[in-house]
Symmetry: C2
Subunit: 97 residues, 2 copies
Amino acid sequence: MLVDTIIGMIAAVLTTSSFIPQIFKAYRSKSMDDVSPYLMLLFIAGASMWLVYGIFKADPVIIVANILALAFNMTLLLMKLIYSRRRYGRSSSIHAQ
Amino acid sequence: MLVDTIIGMIAAVLTTSSFIPQIFKAYRSKSMDDVSPYLMLLFIAGASMWLVYGIFKADPVIIVANILALAFNMTLLLMKLIYSRRRYGRSSSIHAQ
């Protein structure tokens, strides 16, 4: 395996896994008030494009990393929705930055 | 310009810019209690590796996107440090997940 492929794989693991501690933290505290929903929304849009890019390039590292990044960010967005509603009732909106 | 290059550029702009609304939100609220520092730490580590990867591949999109991602995440980590100390005093640690 080439050195650049190994570096790319380590990079993909690190950036993708960065959302895991955020999921655990939010699950424990049941609060995501300080987390902007636009972080997840833009990342979901971006990871979707990276996924298309990975399919174009037939690059399995980019494909797998971005499927995981999509799953993690969708989880966080859903948690944000659930915890906001639980706290402030249905009038609270995810659109509030 | 090839279609895959355009898709990659859009992807890079989206994932990199996703941290900007989080910076604005944190600046306004002066609170980042719900944001895990490991999100930024892992992303900084990952973006550093992507930067090395981009230099290896001589890919300006990957290089520029990850320099910006590094800057945004370092800014967020610094803001988290400053706001934690301001709120809880010096005993509060960034290491608390």
